[in-house]
Amino acid sequence: MQTTMKNLLVALLFITSSAQAQDKFFTKTGKIYFDCTGGIEKIEATNKSTTCVLDSKAGLIQFSVLLKGFEFEKALMEEHFNENYVESDKFPKATFAGTITNNSEINYAKDGVYTAKVKGKLTMHGETKDVEAIGKVTVKKGAVVAAADFNILLSDFKVAIPSVVKDKINNKVTITVDCQLDPLKS
C-alpha cells in the first residue's frame, strides 16, 4: 500500500511538472505579409498583430489573424479587401491550426536554425483548406522565431475576382509569416 501511495505521489508530481514546463511559446504581435500582385500595381499588405501559439512538445502550431488588421499602401485597396474580397464583417478572422510533422528533429532547448515541415488547416472566408509549408524555426536564448513562406489560391477560399480586375489580382497569393515567440508562462 505504501508503495502505491509513493507511486501515486510520483505520478501526481509528474503531472504538475508537465503542466508547468515551458514548452509553449506565443506572440500577439506576429507579422503576416501577403502579395497577390497580378499586374503593374503592387498589391501587398502586412498585419502586425497576429496571434501565434506553438506547443513545442506536441509539435502543434496555431495562428489567428484579424483580417481588418491588414494594412495596405492604398486606403482604397484596404477598403476593397475588407468590403469586397474577404468580407471581414462576415468572416473577421483567418486561422491556421497545424502540426509540425518533423517536430522530433527540432531541439527547442538548443540554439539553432531548424527546418520545420508544417501541415494543417487554414480557415478563411468561411472555407477550410489543407495547407502545407516548409518553414524555419530559429531557437535563440529561450525564444523561438517561426517563419514560413507558402502559397494559397484565392479560388480555394471562394474569394471572387471580378473579370475587370482579373489581370490585376493574382489568384495565387504568396504569404510570408514571421513570428517572434516568447515562452508562455502558465
Partner: protein, 294 residues
C-alpha cells in the same frame, strides 16, 4: 496494484496533453479589439448632392468631376438633356481620419466653393451608435456685376453654409443620415427673399450588390425658402469599379455646391422636371501609410 497506479498516472498525463491540443490560442486570451470604428457607411464622401458621414482616408486626394444635364423630358432633340451640361470640378483631401477639406468650381454663376468637414463622433462597435459630422463651407461667385455703376462689395459674392450630419450604418446593406443645414447668402435680390435658409437633408444607401448601391438624397427646405426655390430630391446608383466611383443619378437640382442646390433649385421634382447627372470620383494616394514609406 502498482501497475494499475502507473497506468492510471499515464492515462492522466496523456489525457492532460490531449485536452490541451484543440485550442492553443485560448491560452493567450485571444480577443477581438474592443472598439472598432465603423467604416464604409457610404461608398463616397457625398450621398448624391450632399455630404455623407464618410471621409477620405488620410493622405488621399479625391478628384471629383460632377455633371448635371438638362431635363429628361425635353426629348430626343435635346438628347434627353445631355446637350445642356453643367459641371463642377473639385479636389478633396483627407488631412486626418477625422478631417477633410475640399475645393471646387462650378460653371453655374462661375462659383467657387471650399469646405472643411470634421468628424467629432465616429460610430464604433463598443462606442457611439452614430457618427456626428460637422461641415462648414463658403461659396464665392465670380460673375461680372449686373450693375457695375453702383458700389459693389466683394462680400456680396459670398455665401456660407453650416451643417451637422447625424448618421448611422445600420448594417452592411443599409446606412442612413439626417443632416440639418443652414445656408446664408450675403446678397439677395429683394427684401422678400430671405438671407438664411434652413433645410434638413435625409440621405440613405441601400446596397444592392457588393459594388452597386441605391441612393436617396432629399433636401426639403424647412424655413426661409428663397423666392422660387423648390426642394431638391435625388435618387441614384453608386457604381464602383476599381479606383473609380460613379454616382449616376436623377434629380431636379443643377447646383453642385450646398448653397447652389439648396437655394437655387427651381425645377420641380414632382412635375417631373428631372435631369440626369453623375459624380465621378477618382482617388490618389498622396501620403502612404508609415510602413510603406521608404
Amino acid at each position: 496494484m502498482r501497475k494499475l497506479t502507473f497506468l492510471f498516472a499515464v492515462l492522466l498525463t496523456s489525457y492532460g496533453v490531449k485536452a490541451q491540443q484543440p485550442d492553443l490560442l485560448s491560452l493567450v486570451g485571444e480577443e477581438k479589439p474592443k472598439k472598432e470604428f465603423q467604416k464604409n457607411a457610404f461608398k463616397s464622401t457625398r450621398v448624391i448632392h450632399g455630404q455623407s458621414i464618410e471621409f477620405l482616408a488620410n493622405g488621399t486626394l479625391d478628384f471629383r468631376i460632377l455633371h448635371r444635364f438638362g431635363y429628361l423630358n425635353t426629348g430626343v432633340k435635346n438628347l434627353f438633356g445631355l446637350d445642356q451640361a453643367n459641371m463642377r470640378m473639385g479636389l478633396d483631401y483627407g488631412i486626418s481620419k477625422r478631417i477633410m477639406v475640399g475645393f471646387g468650381r462650378s460653371n453655374i454663376n462661375k462659383e467657387m466653393d471650399a469646405f472643411i468637414k470634421m468628424r467629432p463622433i465616429w460610430q464604433a462597435t463598443g462606442g457611439w451608435p452614430v457618427s456626428v459630422v460637422i461641415v462648414s463651407g463658403m461659396t464665392y461667385t465670380s460673375v461680372p456685376w449686373t450693375d457695375p455703376s453702383r458700389k459693389n462689395f466683394y462680400t456680396s459674392r459670398m455665401g456660407f453654409y453650416n451643417q451637422i450630419i447625424i448618421g448611422r450604418k445600420f448594417s452592411n446593406g443599409f446606412s442612413m443620415q439626417v443632416a440639418p443645414i443652414m445656408v446664408h447668402r450675403n446678397l439677395v435680390d429683394s427684401v422678400a427673399n430671405p438671407h438664411d435658409t434652413y433645410a434638413v437633408e435625409i440621405g440613405a444607401r441601400i446596397k444592392l450588390s457588393q459594388r452597386i448601391s441605391f441612393m436617396i438624397d432629399a433636401h426639403p427646405i424647412v424655413s426661409g425658402r428663397p423666392t422660387g426655390a423648390k426642394d431638391s430630391y435625388g435618387v441614384g446608383f453608386d457604381i464602383e469599379t476599381g479606383g473609380h466611383v460613379f454616382q449616376l443619378h436623377f434629380s431636379n437640382a443643377t447646383g453642385m455646391n450646398e448653397k447652389a442646390y439648396i437655394t437655387g433649385t427651381t425645377a420641380d421634382f414632382l412635375k417631373s422636371e428631372i435631369r440626369f447627372g453623375f459624380n465621378l470620383s477618382r482617388v490618389f494616394t498622396i501620403v502612404k501609410p508609415k510602413m510603406y514609406r521608404k
